[in-house]
C-alpha cells in the first residue's frame, strides 16, 4: 500500500511539474506571439497577476492586495519588454530554454541570492521559528562576516587554520591524482595484454557509490579491524626493526584523520584523472613518436617534448575541474569524521561550512562563511583560468 502511495505521490508531482512547464510555455507563447495585438496589454494585465496571485499567493504570504500590485507591476514590466524589446523574435529557442532556465533560476540562482540575504541577517536556532512563521529576520549588517574571521566556525579551529588546511588538502590531492593518473595512464597506454580488464579494475574506486567506497575505506583504517593496521601489525611482528623506524599501527581515525581522508580521497580520485589522461594519450598520433624515434629521442625526451605538451589541452580542464571538486569535497571528510563525536582535525572550509550549518545550526553564520568561500574559490578559479588562457596563447 505504501508503495502504491509513494508512486501516486511522485506521479502527481511529475504531472504537476508538467502542468507547470505547460503553463510556463503558454505564458511565454502568449508574450512572444501576440505582443503586437491591441488587446495584448489589457488582457495580460487583467489575467496574469490574478492567476499568479491565485497560484503563488498562499506560498508567498496570503492573498493580499499588496502582492497583487507586485504581480501587476512585474507583469507590466515583462509585457512591455516583450512588446518593445523582444518583439516576437527567437520564439522557438527561448521557449525551448524556458523550463530549464526557470528551474535553474529557482533552484540555483535564487538560493544563491538567498544565501547572500541570509549572510546579512541573523538566522539561528532561536530565530528560525520566527522566520518560518513571519518570514522576517533581524538585520545585522556585516556582523556575520566579521565573525567568520574572528570566531571558530566549529568549536576549536579558526578560519585561517581551515584555509591553510584546505589549500594543503587541495594541493596534495590534485598533485597525487595527476601524478598517479598520469603514471597509470602511461603504463596502460602500452600495447599490453588484458588492457581492457586492467582499465576496468582500475576505475572501480570511481565507479563505486562514493558513500560505500568512503565508508569501506574508513573501515579499513579502523584501529583494530582495519586492513591497514592488520598489515602493519603483521609487518612489525615479522620485522621488529621497523618499530624502531617509527612504523607501526596507529589510531588513524582519531590521531591522523586528515592523513586518512587524504589517502582515501587520493584513492578515489586517481581513476578519473587516469581515464582522462589515457583518452588524451590515445588521441596523440603515433607518427609524432615515429618521427621522434627517427630523430633519436630517448623515452624521457619523448615524454617531455611530445607527450606532455600534446596532453596539456586535455589535462588543463580536467585539472581545473579536479581542483574545484577537491576544494569542494565535503563527502569524504564528512563521511569519515562526521559522526557524532567526530573530530575537527580533518575539516576543510566546505566541510566546516556544512557542519556549522547542520551540526551547530548557525545558519546565517554559515551563509556568510559560504559567501567568503565562494569568493575565494572564484578568485582562485579566475586566476587559474587566466593562467590557462595565457598558456594557450603561448603555444
Amino acid at each position: 500500500m505504501e508503495i502504491l502511495k509513494s508512486i501516486q505521490e511522485v506521479v502527481w508531482f511529475i504531472l504537476l511539474i508538467s502542468l507547470g512547464v505547460g503553463a510556463l510555455e503558454g505564458y511565454f507563447y502568449y508574450h512572444f506571439q501576440y505582443y503586437d495585438r491591441k488587446w495584448f496589454f489589457p488582457a495580460a494585465l487583467a489575467v496574469m497577476p490574478a492567476l499568479a496571485l491565485a497560484v503563488f499567493g498562499q506560498l508567498l504570504g496570503g492573498y493580499t492586495f499588496q502582492l497583487w500590485v507586485y504581480f501587476l507591476l512585474a507583469e507590466a514590466a515583462i509585457a512591455a519588454a516583450f512588446r518593445y524589446l523582444v518583439q516576437g523574435r527567437h520564439t522557438v529557442p527561448y521557449l525551448l530554454l524556458a523550463p530549464a532556465f526557470v528551474g535553474l533560476a529557482l533552484l540555483l540562482v535564487y538560493p544563491f541570492v538567498f544565501e547572500i540575504y541570509l549572510s546579512f541577517h541573523d538566522l539561528k536556532l532561536t530565530t528560525i521559528m520566527m522566520w518560518k512563521n513571519t518570514g522576517r529576520l533581524p538585520f545585522v549588517g556585516i556582523d556575520q562576516y566579521i565573525k567568520v574571521f574572528t570566531t571558530s566556525p566549529l568549536s576549536e579551529v579558526s578560519f585561517w587554520a581551515l584555509l591553510g588546511r584546505t589549500l594543503l588538502w587541495t594541493f596534495t590531492n590534485v598533485f597525487f591524482h595527476v601524478a598517479g593518473g598520469f603514471a597509470l595512464a602511461l603504463l596502460l597506454n602500452n600495447n599490453i595484454r588484458w588492457k581492457g580488464v586492467y582499465r576496468t579494475l582500475l576505475v572501480i574506486p570511481w565507479a563505486m557509490p562514493q558513500v560505500v567506497a568512503v565508508l569501506a575505506m574508513r573501515g579499513e583504517f579502523h584501529s583494530q579491524n582495519g586492513f591497514v593496521n592488520i598489515v602493519l601489525t603483521k609487518l612489525t611482528e615479522a620485522m621488529p626493526f621497523l618499530t624502531q623506524l617509527g612504523i607501526g599501527p596507529v589510531q588513524w581515525l582519531s590521531d591522523y584523520p586528515l592523513v586518512t581522508c587524504t589517502l582515501i580521497n587520493i584513492w578515489l580520485g586517481i581513476p578519473f584523472m587516469m581515464v582522462v589522461i589515457l583518452g588524451g594519450l590515445q588521441s596523440i598520433s603515433s607518427s609524432y613518436y615515429d618521427a621522434a624515434d627517427i630523430d633519436g629521442a630517448s623515452y624521457l625526451q619523448k615524454l617531455r617534448f611530445i607527450t606532455v605538451p600534446l596532453i596539456r589541452p586535455v589535462m588543463m580542464p580536467a585539472v581545473t575541474l579536479g581542483t574545484v571538486w577537491t576544494f569542494n569535497n565535503i563527502n569524504v571528510i564528512y563521511l569519515v569524521t562526521g559522526q557524532s563525536g567526530g573530530t575537527e582535525q580533518a575539516d576543510i572550509l566546505v566541510s566546516a561550512l556544512y557542519k556549522a550549518a547542520f551540526t551547530y545550526n548557525r545558519y546565517s553564520y554559515s551563509a556568510a562563511f559560504a559567501i567568503v568561500v565562494f569568493a575565494l574559490l572564484f578568485f582562485i578559479s579566475v586566476t587559474y583560468l587566466h593562467g590557462f588562457d595565457a598558456a594557450k596563447e603561448d603555444r
Binding site: E9, F13, L118, M208, P317, Y363
Partner: protein, 284 residues
C-alpha cells in the same frame, strides 16, 4: 648479432613484466576494499571483529544479507532512493533535452551568457547551496518528503546534462532536420521525430549521469530526511555503519547489494561519460 637480439628480447620481456606487475598491484589496491566488503558480508555474526584477511571467511554465510533484508528497512530505503532518483532523472533529462537543442541549433541573444552560466554553476560549492535549499524546503513544508528531495536534486545535474546533449546534437547534421521540414514536419516536429530518436545514446547517458548523481547523494538527504522510514539507502547504510560494530556485517551486505548494479551501469557507460566530460570541458 644473435646475442644482441636476445638481450633486446630480454629487455622487452622485463619491461612488460614490470608494467604488468605495477598495474596488477595498483588494480589490487583499487579492487581490494570491494572484495573486503564482500568478505565481511559473508562473515558469521560472531567473527566480525576478526583480523582475518582471507577473502572467503571460514564459515561463510549469507545471514548478514538475510537479517539486512528482514530486520532493517533496507528494501524500503532502496525503494525510496529509486523513486526519488527516477523522478529527478526524468525531470532533469526532459528539461535538458530541449534546452540543449536550443543551444545546439539556434542563434539568439544571450546564448553565450547562458552557456557561461551553465559552466560557472559548476564552480559553486555544492555545500553552499544546501543551506538555502534546506530552508526553502522547510518553508514549503516539504521536509522529510520525496518531493523535497526531488526538488533539491532536480537541477543539480542539469548543466552537465545540457553540455552532454548539446555536444551530441552538434554532431547530427542539420540537413536531417531540413529534410524533415521539407517532408512536412514543423521545427519542433523535426526535433521530436528525428533528433530525439537519434539521440537515444546521449539521452541514456544523461539519464544515467542524473541517476547515479542522485542515487549516490548523501549530504542533502542527511538534512532533508529525518525519519528512518524516509531514508535513502545512503543514509541507511551510514546509520548501519555507525558506532555499533554489530551491524558491520549488515553494512557490508547492503553495500554489496547497491554497489554491484551501480558498478555494472557505470562500467558500461564510462566511455560515454568521459567523452561527455572532456567534450564539455575542452569546448568551454
Amino acid at each position: 648479432m644473435n646475442k644482441e637480439r636476445l638481450s633486446i628480447e630480454r629487455k622487452k620481456q622485463l619491461k612488460f613484466f614490470l608494467i604488468h606487475a605495477v598495474i596488477i598491484i595498483s588494480a589490487a589496491i583499487c579492487v581490494y576494499p570491494l572484495l573486503r566488503i564482500f568478505s565481511i558480508s559473508l562473515r558469521p555474526g560472531d567473527k566480525l571483529f576478526s583480523t582475518d584477511l582471507s577473502l572467503v571467511p571460514a564459515g561463510a554465510t549469507f545471514t548478514a544479507y538475510a537479517s539486512l533484508l528482514k530486520d532493517t528497512m533496507f528494501l524500503r530505503w532502496l525503494w525510496n532512493s529509486l523513486i526519488i532518483t527516477l523522478a529527478t532523472s526524468f525531470i532533469g533529462v526532459s528539461l535538458a533535452s530541449t534546452a540543449a537543442y536550443a543551444f545546439s541549433r539556434f542563434r539568439f541573444p544571450g546564448k553565450k551568457a547562458g552557456l557561461i552560466l551553465l559552466l560557472s554553476s559548476q564552480m559553486i560549492p555544492a555545500g553552499m547551496l544546501i543551506l538555502p535549499l534546506f530552508l526553502m524546503i522547510m518553508k514549503l513544508n516539504l521536509m522529510n518528503t520525496y518531493l523535497g528531495m526531488i526538488i533539491a536534486y532536480s537541477v543539480s545535474s542539469l548543466p552537465f546534462s545540457i553540455w552532454i546533449l548539446k555536444g551530441y546534437y552538434d554532431t547530427i547534421p542539420r540537413s536531417l532536420e531540413e529534410a524533415a521540414l521539407v517532408d512536412g514536419t514543423s521545427q519542433v516536429g523535426a526535433f521530436w521525430r528525428i533528433i530525439l530518436p537519434l539521440s537515444t545514446p546521449a539521452l541514456s547517458i544523461a539519464f544515467l549521469f542524473n541517476f547515479t548523481t542522485a542515487w549516490n547523494e548523501y549530504l542533502v538527504a542527511r538534512v532533508v530526511l529525518f525519519s528512518a522510514k524516509q531514508y535513502t539507502w545512503t543514509l541507511g547504510l551510514f546509520e548501519l555503519q555507525g558506532q555499533y560494530i554489530t551491524q558491520w556485517g549488515m553494512f557490508a551486505a547492503g553495500s554489496m547489494l547497491v554497489t554491484i548494479p551501480v558498478l555494472c551501469v557505470f562500467l558500461y557507460s564510462s566511455k560515454w561519460l568521459i567523452s561527455g566530460l572532456t567534450l564539455g570541458s575542452v569546448k568551454g
